[in-house]
């Protein structure tokens, strides 16, 4: 049990230290304003990250989330603006399309035994390409429903605006935790990530679960696309470029092992917010140039992984200095 909670613990401790450091430099980190902005601005990364956590827990990977976000945005904008459909109908439509897309990827991965990396990479090209085919223009959305949604906001006494996006992020987080730890599906995912053959022999429906996992991941990516569309009031096919890697980085920082079977949804939540905290800090500081955020996130990734390795039970630090084992005949002498 110790080794499994360990990466999460490290992430949590480093996050708290990072936050305290920021708080000591800028008092505004203590206000709800910064916290609400973090939740709102990182909802579009955090929501797919929760889906991708399931994928990675099962031992797979999903590179398609960024492109699905872009496709969703463009699709919504086109359907609402050009075809005059009601947003809710469009949302239902795109959510089904997204889920079907994910199921398709799951089918390719499970039934045709093509590596998840390659299938979801093709999915990424397909979704991004689909967005380009729909339109390469940036379309702004003007619809009363969008205005209604942007009015849904809880304003804290000190001015923090808890928006719909932030609420959706937290809701998905709670549902994700529930799905991972309190349902049969979640247990199947963990079992598959631990040992797929073993899980199959124990009666885990591996095929159905695989398809379910990728469907869930694509569903959440589509949902994130809707959230982004709602907050940006526009659809753009070049949006969320490279977001899939930010999403995976968040999951990894959150302590989920890419080998599968180990990790927590709540870790992903923290992992996604870490780059956000750094970004906010750099914005407030103003003296550091923007490229530092990439370098710092990379360094933090290294620190997290290093700490997890160094302090985790699986890593043998002294292996580095040990000589290769003696052969049997040498030992006999």
């Amino acid at each position: 049990m110790k080794s499994r909670v360990f990466p999460l613990l490290i992430t949590f401790v480093v996050f708290v230290l990072l936050y305290l450091f920021c708080l000591s430099r800028f008092d505004s980190f203590g206000t709800t304003k910064v916290i609400c902005n973090l939740l709102r601005n990182y909802a579009y990364l955090g929501i797919p990250a929760i889906g991708v956590t399931f994928v990675i827990l099962s031992g797979g990977i999903d590179l398609s989330s960024g492109s699905i976000i872009a496709f969703t945005g463009v699709f919504c904008a086109l359907m609402i603006e050009r075809n005059g459909m009601h947003p809710l109908v469009v949302f239902a439509l795109i959510l089904s399309i997204g889920t079907a897309f994910g199921m398709m990827m799951g089918v390719f991965i499970h039934y045709f035994k093509i590596p998840a990396f390659i299938v979801t990479l093709s999915g990424m090209f397909l979704a991004r390409g689909g967005a380009y085919v729909l339109t390469t223009d940036s379309i702004s959305i003007r619809h009363p429903f969008y205005d209604e949604v942007s009015k849904i906001v809880y304003i804290f006494p000190d001015g923090g605006r808890f928006t719909f996006a932030a609420g959706a992020f937290l809701a998905v987080l709670v549902l994700g935790i529930f799905l991972a730890h309190f349902t049969r599906f979640g247990r199947n995912v963990y079992a598959m990530g631990g040992n797929e053959t073993g899980a199959l022999l124990l009666g885990v429906p591996v095929g159905r679960t695989t398809i379910g996992i990728y469907a869930l991941s694509s569903f959440l990516a589509t949902f994130a696309g809707i959230i982004l569309s709602l907050s940006k009031h526009s659809g753009d096919s070049t949006i969320a470029m490279g977001a899939e890697m930010d999403v995976i980085t968040g999951v990894v920082i959150g302590g989920t092992l890419l080998t599968g079977g180990v990790g927590y949804v709540i870790g992903t939540f923290i992992g996604t917010l870490v780059p956000g905290v750094i970004h906010t800090y750099l914005t407030l500081d103003g003296s550091l140039t923007p490229w530092w955020i990439k370098i710092i996130v990379g360094t933090l990734l290294l620190v997290f992984i290093g700490l997890q390795k160094l302090l985790g039970s699986q890593f043998d630090f002294f292996k580095l200095f040990r000589r290769p084992p003696l052969r049997a005949e040498q030992q006999a002498q």
Partner: protein, 355 residues
């Protein structure tokens, strides 16, 4: 005569089955077939697809364009094939391309503004850029081999921070240069053929000799199949891993220099964008399994050529360029499906049930 020949031919084809090996199971078959179909399709779209003309001492033609355009990714595919053969993956090559190009261009700018120190001269600048690539590879290799970090995570560290490092080196700008030696790597022509093609062939030959004429190739496959067993068998698995990542870094440096030479500038964002994904895709289309082991450098190059010929075909077919990505994704999926043993088995079952 003909009647005699045909059964004979059938016999010969039948003999191609050796054990479990049949032409359908051969990884090479589907890759070569896909390239063949795409090239034939290109020929059908554009009648002068195969024509190559000499214009002002430079060969002009679609085939040359394909090879020239594919050279950077083909170079990457050499390193990537070896890395994947050891059951790893190198996500950082795109970022390494940007870093090395940034280093080279910043140094050459010093040379152009009059610095006379020997390490600002173009040949040394190129060496330093290659050294930077090797250093990046060494970093990845050490993380993977000695700290037991999963390759995808270890190289993700450099992928994330690499573009930031490149921006830091260039101060957030995209510096340009005019030096002809550095530009030659990307735009040079020898005997009418673009220099990147020679560069690729030279690196391919060197690496091919290294892996197929020494035991290193076998060791790489062995480490990819089972690193621990190889270690117990006396192979220095860690060293092999470091070696392949260093090679991948050097290949990335060369690819970065080609791109920088082509556009005579070092753009920290655009240089090598998506290059890592294209390279991995090419290696997989070439039939090297992501789970390590058997690899083929030549087939990986064919994998790059498939994608590049496809893009060239789309370009000359005057199809709307927005459809490029979709067509690329579909073709890649079809090729992968036919390579998948499971898929072919299911198709065969379906056909048999019908019949």
């Amino acid at each position: 005569m003909l009647e005699q020949l045909i059964p004979n031919l059938k016999n010969q084809i039948g003999k191609l089955k050796i054990g479990n090996f049949t032409w359908q199971n051969s990884r090479a078959f589907w890759t070569v077939l896909a390239l063949f179909i795409i090239i034939v399709a290109n020929r059908l779209i554009s009648p002068n697809f195969f024509s190559i003309q000499m214009v002002e001492g430079r060969l002009i033609g679609s085939l040359i364009n394909i090879l020239d355009g594919a050279a950077p990714i083909m170079l990457l595919s050499i390193g990537m094939t070896l890395v994947i053969a050891t059951k790893g993956v190198d996500l950082s090559v795109g970022a390494v391309m940007a870093i090395c190009a940034a280093v080279a261009v910043m140094l050459i700018n010093q040379y152009e503004s009059g610095a006379t120190d020997f390490y600002y001269t173009p040949p040394f600048v190129i060496l330093i850029a290659l050294g930077t690539g090797a250093l990046c590879g060494l970093w990845n290799g050490i993380l993977v081999a000695f700290f037991d970090i999963q390759p995808i995570v270890a190289t993700m560290i450099l992928m994330t921070s690499g573009r930031g490092i490149a921006q830091m080196i260039t101060n957030g700008q995209s510096p340009t240069f005019t030096d002809d030696t550095l530009a030659f790597i990307g735009r040079g022509v020898i005997f009418g053929v673009p220099f990147p093609i020679y560069l690729y062939l030279a690196v391919f030959l060197l690496v091919y000799l290294l892996v197929r004429r020494t035991a290193i190739g076998l060791m790489i496959e062995s480490v990819g199949i089972n690193a621990r067993a190889s270690y117990y068998a006396g192979i220095n698995a860690s060293l092999i891993k470091v070696l392949v990542y260093v090679l991948s870094g050097v290949c990335a440096a060369l690819a970065g220099l080609i791109i920088a030479g082509e556009v005579k500038s070092a753009d920290p964002h655009k240089n090598g964008e998506w290059a890592e994904l294209d390279a991995i895709l090419a290696v997989v289309i070439g039939g090297t399994s992501l789970s390590g082991g058997r690899f083929s450098l030549g087939l990986s190059a064919l994998g790059v050529l498939i994608v590049q010929s496809l893009l060239t075909g789309l370009y000359i077919s005057k199809l709307h360029p927005t459809a490029n990505l979709v067509v690329k994704a579909i073709v890649v999926l079809v090729v992968l499906l036919f390579q998948s043993d499971e898929f072919r088995r299911r198709i065969r079952q379906l056909v048999r049930r019908r019949a």
